[in-house]
Amino acid sequence: MKSFLIFIVKIVLITVLLAVVLDFGYTAIYLNSKSRDKVADVFKSKARSYDVVILGSSRANNHFVTRIFEKNGLKTFNYGMSGGHLYEASLLLKLMIERNYEIKNLILEADLNLSNDKQSEGVAAKFLPYIHRSEIIKNHFEQESNFNELYYIPFYRYLKFDSKIGSRELFNTIIQKKTVANENGGYYALGVNKKGNMKNNILSLNPLKRNKYYEEIKQLCKTNNIRFIPIMTPMCENVIGMNYFEKVKSAYPEIHNYENVVIENKYFSSCGHMNDNGAKKFTSIVVRDFFKK
């Protein structure tokens, strides 16, 4: 039995050692390779200067056409992240500020994402490789219930979020597999989708009275002299009459309601996402209203 117990102790030690080595290896690779997503891009960057930075979910990523801003002489990057919540938008902004970004205007897509202040696990996972290298990231995650596991157990974060930062993503990072995340100024155009789902029931959806991360972003902008432009972006015809956007307006009067500037289904790829034509039409209106007056 003694031999067996020694054998088991050895296995446990090997497992811990492997976890430490793998953790070190994964982190080193993510730190030292070309960025494949917006989080890595910001994390590895140094001071940048922008006229306009766009934050939000896919409804920012697919709706604000960077090129149109650029054509109007505004140096812009769309940092909207598909699936992201305000939790990640706030953290990304904190990282930018930590890296001494000079930002004049911040457009925040703030509409459906106001309904929760939880993290979006898939997007938040993209920050985790750097959790030991950034106090900002560590502090942001500190409030999460699984922080101790993520921070102290070696490799746990790569194991827990294997589909986002696990072996497959690591392999793609090593071979520098092409990604479109940072192309076109961060804007991702959606095509015309004739089979797109043009129904989205947001009747029961309610914005939080005070979304913690919305307020955090607002405060960060105020502190850092960034012009804060929160915008509700369009949805398809189907949601007309579902008064979600009115609810947002009454809770957050400062958010600009652009829900109805594009409504025809031909401009949408799915109910919550405009196609490239819709995005261009919408972006032109936003540029006209905020940057040409």
């Binding site: 039995m1 088991i8 296995i11 090997i14 793998l22 490799f155 194991l159 827990k160 589909s163 497959r168």
Partner: protein, 477 residues
């Protein structure tokens, strides 16, 4: 509580400690702690089903004794059929009733008769097919005087409820397991070490192969009308490895952990995808179930004796029954039927026992033929698995039709945001590892076992699928 869960990682060492350090004095105390652990393990799913398990155990225990005690043939028969009837009755109610009721309603509606069947709102008790078959084999063996009845209730209960095999087998035989629980087990370091190796390899099969393949197979099967030929072929291959990794991985974990308690369980898988014909495949796949049907259905029906027509009938009966054992769905019946069709030519040509030993290749022409046979058998198995995996027979037929008619073999981006071919490299490495170790139980033991164990652990940590947790497929049976 699954074998690959954190709770089980806590449960197993506690039971191990209690078994060897607190309750190790006598056979009875060892069995007592294992029974306690097994009932706790089972109650973690749903404590209410514990009553069913205990009742089923008591029924077979009591009827076994009555059958043995009674010399009168009709009384023996009464106790025998009482046990068989109640056991199968439980299965019928929990597993098959709704299927038969709704199928009958569909049939009646086809004839223009409207009916609204009374369906039961019950959850299938986990492992019911496995422990029912345990009990049945025990009672049948006593009835045919192959074994003696067990008079010690704790020992018998352990035979039925032993937690490593309780929910997904292997389906044990009284002749094999009961003698082991009748004696005090002494700790054997080598056996325990083998157990750890086998458990670890089972975990590799589950979290690296089965769960990895499941992600791709699900994305393909769930969207098959939009998939091209290449994706559909890969979907079938991924599912073949998913179900193999899942079930043989589970079996390896069960066998491995049982060795930690000094108990050997029946081998359930013996590298089935290296079979050269379907008969060999069935001697290597889910061996404990195949042999159960062989011993308790096929041979009593006459087996391979008698006229060819009777032999054919017997083959169809056991394959269709085997399919039906898996679940109350026409797809499982079709899967069993297709396997019977595969088996038929071998039976008619008396070639069903041509390949008994594990394939051993040499540098000659015969080996090329053997490799071709392995690929051909794997292809047949994959086609049959499509029926097993599909939601309906119509879906399975449409899947196969599209696979052969689409003609597009380009890589395709799947709903899981990955390309269809991405997992192939891991599957190929897995096949190579298994091929090189096909004469042993698992690939870790032997020379450089420490290094191989470290590699296996590294594979589990680095390549395992943990974020998209998947249950063991066979738990639903």
């Amino acid at each position: 509580m699954f074998f690959n869960s954190l709770t089980f990682a806590i449960f197993l060492p506690i039971v191990f400690f209690l078994y060897w350090f607190v309750f190790n004095k006598t056979k009875s105390s060892q069995n007592f702690i294992l029974i306690l652990a097994s009932y706790y393990f089972y109650s973690c799913w749903d404590w209410r089903f514990l009553f069913l398990l205990v009742f089923s155990t008591f029924l077979d225990y009591a009827t076994g004794i009555q059958i043995e005690k009674t010399e009168n043939a009709s009384t023996r028969k009464f106790w025998f059929w009482l046990s068989v009837g109640i056991n199968l009755g439980f299965l019928a109610v929990f597993k098959y009733y709704n299927f038969f009721a709704s199928s009958l309603a569909t049939l009646l509606s086809d004839f223009g008769l409207k009916s609204s069947p009374f369906l039961l709102d019950v959850v299938l008790p986990v492992g019911i097919s496995f422990y029912t078959f345990h009990g049945l084999s025990y009672v049948i063996d006593i009835y045919y005087k192959r074994i003696k009845a067990e008079y010690n209730f704790v020992d018998y209960s352990l035979f039925v409820s032993y937690f490593p095999l309780l929910v997904a087998g292997p389906i044990e035989r009284a002749t094999h397991l009961l003698p082991q629980v009748k004696v005090r087990r002494a700790f054997d370091f080598e056996k325990a070490k083998e157990g750890v190796y086998q458990f670890t390899w089972g975990l590799v099969k589950k979290v690296v192969i089965a769960d990895g393949c499941a992600t791709y197979a699900n994305a393909i099967f769930d969207h098959y009308p939009a998939m091209n030929s290449w994706s559909l072929i890969l979907g079938a291959v991924y599912f073949a490895f998913q179900i193999y990794g899942d079930f043989s991985g589970y079996s390896d974990m069960a066998l491995g952990m049982s060795k930690l308690f000094g108990i050997d369980l029946l081998r359930n898988f013996n590298y089935p995808y290296f079979s050269r014909d379907i008969a060999e495949f069935w001697r290597r796949w889910h061996i404990s179930l195949s042999s159960w049907f062989r011993d308790y259905v096929y041979i009593p029906l006459g087996g391979s004796k008698g006229s060819k027509s009777k032999q054919v009938r017997n083959v169809f009966i056991i394959f269709v029954l085997s399919g039906f054992w898996h679940g109350a769905n026409w797809t499982y019946l079709a899967w069993g039927f297709i396997n019977a069709l595969y088996f038929l030519p071998l039976l008619l040509l008396n070639k069903n026992r041509s390949n008994i030993e594990m394939v051993d290749l040499k540098w000659n022409l015969r080996s090329i033929k053997e490799i071709a046979s392995i690929f051909y058998t794997f292809l047949l198995a994959c086609l049959a698995w499509i029926f097993f995996r599909a939601n309906t027979i119509t879906d399975a037929v449409a899947y196969i039709k599209r696979m052969f008619s689409n003609g597009n073999f380009a890589s395709q981006y799947l709903a899981n945001e990955r390309y269809n071919y991405e997992l192939l490299a891991i599957v190929i490495v897995f096949v190579i590892v298994e091929w090189n170790n096909r004469f042993s139980i698992e690939p870790i033991s032997g020379r450089k076992s420490g290094l191989k164990l470290a590699l296996a652990i590294a594979a589990i940590i680095a390549l395992g699928t943990f974020s998209d947790y998947k249950e063991f497929i066979y738990f639903q049976f």
